[in-house]
């Protein structure tokens, strides 16, 4: 079994066939990472530490590609749904799922950092999503697109003055009284 291609190894298989097939590999990303591992001259093959570093870099690059697009799509979806609610076009409204809300909350604090959920520490990032995320959360609650039960605000956010779950509910009531 080969992991990246999810294909089984042929039952009759030897190193010469491997070298022939290597030249037919379509995925340039993979051949760049692992190609030299199949060098017929053993001393030219990379060390395991080098392979690990290449895979680590590739994995990080893939994560970097995926994360912003996920949140970008979610923000676009929120923008469309909020606009539809404003114009009373209920057919065009997509509710936010629990997973959507969790994703939004992950980027709630991203003025210039991406919060890591495991230990609440933060690392630098070029993302500046917080204003749009705050708007989407607020307007989502206001227009009934977000279930309040799905909002769990991290302690660090509450301590800096952002509203707790109860605070958000109070805000909603206060807003409608006005």
């Amino acid at each position: 079994m080969q992991i990246l291609t999810a294909q089984a190894l042929p039952s009759e298989f030897d190193s010469h066939i491997v070298l022939e097939e290597f030249h037919n590999v379509d995925d340039r990303r993979i051949s760049e990472i692992l190609g030299s591992c199949l060098d017929p001259t053993p001393s030219r093959r990379p060390t395991a530490a080098e392979v690990e570093q290449r895979l680590s870099d590739q994995y990080a690059d893939e994560c970097a590609k995926q994360t912003p697009s996920d949140i970008s799509e979610l923000l676009e979806k929120g923008k469309r749904s909020i606009a539809a609610r404003r114009e009373n076009q209920c057919a065009l409204v997509d509710m936010f799922s629990k997973a959507d809300v969790e994703k939004l909350l992950t980027f709630e604090d991203s003025w210039d950092d991406v919060p890591r959920l495991d230990d609440e520490t933060e690392v630098g990032s070029p993302l500046r999503l917080a204003p749009r995320v705050k708007f989407t959360l607020g307007a989502g609650i206001l227009y009934g697109l977000i279930d309040l039960a799905h909002i769990h605000v991290r302690g660090t956010v509450v301590s800096r003055g952002t509203t707790s779950l109860e605070g958000i509910a109070s805000f909603e009531v206060f807003y409608f009284r006005i």
Binding site: I3, C37, A49, E62
Partner: protein
């Protein structure tokens, strides 16, 4: 992790031969295992041949298997320490300890049982991998590369890397690889003589050994080293 030691006390030295033929001795051995591992151990299938590959359970609920080992050329406690150090950071089969008999002739590694769920052998994981996103498969490869690199840093040649030595564990929707059969691997610097070293690094006679993953130079040299591990690792990736 318990540092292994010989069976204590006033008993006669136990041998595999006597244990295989003597049910009473077998029970006596099982009663003594807690003193070795500091945990009760129960064979789950009494029909299983004694002892190699026998499934068992530790008191804490961990499912384990007993794997016969040849430890003539290097030190068992040191091996366990290496496993204990590595298992905290890389994806290898857990080793709970090593059972040694007083005469030192036979040792068994007490290892994590990977042959039952939630573990899935990579060789049977086609359907599962096919529906797994590319980024997750890349993560599996990275975890394996980290494991291989860590083992090489301890000067250990893995030798038997193949899809039958790798298992996948599903944890909260994520597939985590676990490298097994490390009893076939060897530490280069711990052999007393060059001939011991050459013998230990030569191609294994283990029935699980898969020659499809062999590097071209293995055909002539009949030996393994870090570079042949890299070739086999690449075969598993793509």
């Amino acid at each position: 992790m318990t540092v292994p030691r010989v069976l204590p006390g006033s008993q006669d030295p136990l041998t595999v031969a006597t244990l295989q033929n003597d049910h009473t001795r077998r029970q006596e051995f099982l009663e003594n295992i807690p003193r070795v591992l500091e945990s009760e151990i129960v064979l789950r299938d009494q029909r299983q041949g004694f002892f190699d590959g026998a499934p068992a359970s530790l008191k804490g609920g961990d499912k384990v298997r007993l794997i016969k080992m040849s430890l003539k050329t290097y030190d068992a406690p040191k091996l366990v320490q290496i496993y204990a150090t590595l298992s905290g950071s890389v994806s290898i089969q857990r080793v709970f300890g090593i059972l040694e008999f007083r005469n030192g002739s036979t040792s068994y590694a007490v290892v994590e049982d990977l042959e039952e769920p939630p573990f899935l052998p990579l060789s049977n994981a086609f359907d599962r991998l096919e529906t797994t996103p590319f980024i997750q498969r890349l993560r599996i490869c990275y975890d394996l590369a980290l494991t291989v690199a860590s083992l090489h840093k301890t000067e250990r040649v893995i030798k038997v890397l193949s899809d039958s030595s790798i298992f996948l564990r599903e944890d909260d929707g994520q597939l985590i690889p676990v490298l097994s059969k490390l009893e076939e691997s060897r530490i280069v610097h711990e052999f007393a003589t060059l001939s011991d070293c050459v013998q230990a690094l030569s191609q294994t006679t283990n029935s699980d050994y898969d020659p499809r993953y062999n590097a071209p130079e293995c055909v002539k040299s009949k030996q393994h080293n870090y570079k042949t591990d890299i070739w086999r690792f690449r075969q598993i990736m793509v």
